[in-house]
Symmetry: C2
Subunit: 199 residues, 2 copies
C-alpha cells in the first residue's frame, strides 16, 4: 500500500490506485478522529469517490479499518532484525526504526488510528495489544533479558507516549525535535526498557 | 471535588454534592469518549439531574470541561515536593505519586479525559501540555539536570504511554500489575528521564 497520491488529471486513475487512495483517506480519518467518528461518506469524499466504491472494495467499515490498520509485513521483519544488533545498540536501532516509521504518514496514521480508536473500538485496542504482545514481545525475548513480556509492554508504552506527545498533544520540545534528535532521546529509554536491569 | 458517590435515598442531597456528582459524571464521560462525543444530556442522565442544572452550575460544556479537568491543587504541590527527595530516589517518588494518582478514579478521569479529548479539542491538548510544560518542567528544573524541558517532555510521554497502556489499551502485563509492581516498573524509567544522562 503506497501513500503517494497521484496528481489529479480529471480522469480517474486505475482501480488499484483508487483503492490506495481510499485506504490513505481512511487511515487519515481513523488517525484524526478515531473509528467511531470516521464516516464512510467522509472517507469517500476525501478520496473523491462514491461511497459505494468504498463498500465495493472493503465490504464494510470494519473491513476497511482492519485492512488499512494492518502493519506492513516488512516492518515486522525490521523489528525482528533489531534483535540481531549488538546488545549495546539495541535501543538505538529500535529508536531509529520507530522514528522513521512515525515520520511516514502511512505508519503514523496506522499507529495513531489504532490508539485513537482503541477506547471505543475493542478491535483497535486488540491491534495495539497485538503489536506489543506479539512483535515487541518477540523482540524482547530474542534479546534475552528477564521478563520479556514486561519489557515489551514498557517499550509499547514508550512508543504510544512518544507518538501522542509528539504528534497529537504537541508537547514541546518533543513536537519540534528533528528525527535525529528524536532518535537520540528515545534510544536510551528503549535501551533501558529492553536491556538494562528492570529495577 | 470529591469522587465519592452518596448512597441513593430517593431524596436529592444538597446542592454541593449534586454539583460534585455532575462533575464526576462529566469526568467519566470525557475520559471514556472524549470532549466531542460527550453530551451534556448524557452527563445529566448519568448524574440523574436535569440538563438545565448542568448549565446552571457550569455555564457551558466548555466551562464544565475546564472545571472538571483541573488538577487538584495538592497534586501540583506533591509534584513539587518530589524534587526534595534525594537524587537517587526522585524516580521512585514520582512513580509513587503517578501510580497513586492514576489509581484514583478522579485523577485517572482527568488525565484520560484530557488525553482522549486532545485530538479534537485544542483546549484539552493545551491542558496536557500545561502539565508537562509547567509542572513537570518545574520539577525537572528543580532537580537540576541539563535540558529540563526535554526531561519534562520525556516524563510526560512516559506518563501518557503508561496510562494509555494500562487503562485504555489494556496491554498485558501492564494492565494487571498491582500498584506496587507498577511503581517498581516506572521508577527506573522516571529516574532515567529525570536524572540520568540523556544520551
Amino acid at each position: 500500500v503506497s501513500v503517494s497520491r497521484p496528481v489529479r488529471t480529471g480522469r480517474r486513475p486505475g482501480a488499484s490506485s483508487t483503492r490506495d487512495e481510499i485506504a490513505a483517506a481512511a487511515r487519515a480519518a481513523f488517525a484524526e478522529v478515531g473509528y467511531d467518528r470516521a464516516s464512510l461518506r467522509g472517507i469517500a469524499r476525501a478520496a473523491r469517490v462514491d461511497p459505494a466504491l468504498v463498500m465495493h472494495f472493503f465490504g464494510s467499515k470494519e473491513g476497511l479499518f482492519r485492512e488499512v490498520m494492518t502493519l506492513p509485513g516488512p516492518l515486522a521483519a525490521a523489528l525482528a532484525a533489531v534483535a540481531q544488533a549488538p546488545r549495546s545498540e539495541v535501543g538505538r536501532r529500535l529508536a531509529e526504526l520507530v522514528v522513521s516509521g512515525l515520520e511516514s504518514p502511512e505508519l503514523r496514521g496506522i499507529l495513531l488510528g489504532r490508539i485513537r480508536s482503541a477506547a471505543s473500538h475493542p478491535e483497535a485496542a486488540a491491534l495495539v495489544r497485538e503489536v506489543v504482545e506479539r512483535d515487541l514481545h518477540a523482540l524482547a525475548a530474542a534479546i534475552g533479558g528477564e521478563r520479556p513480556e514486561l519489557r515489551a509492554a514498557l517499550v509499547g508504552a514508550h512508543l504510544v507516549g512518544f507518538a501522542v506527545a509528539r504528534y497529537v498533544v504537541l508537547v514541546e520540545p518533543m513536537a519540534s525535535l528533528t528525527p535525529e534528535q528524536a532518535v537520540d532521546v528515545l534510544a536510551p529509554q528503549f535501551q533501558q526498557a529492553l536491556v538494562d536491569p528492570l529495577s
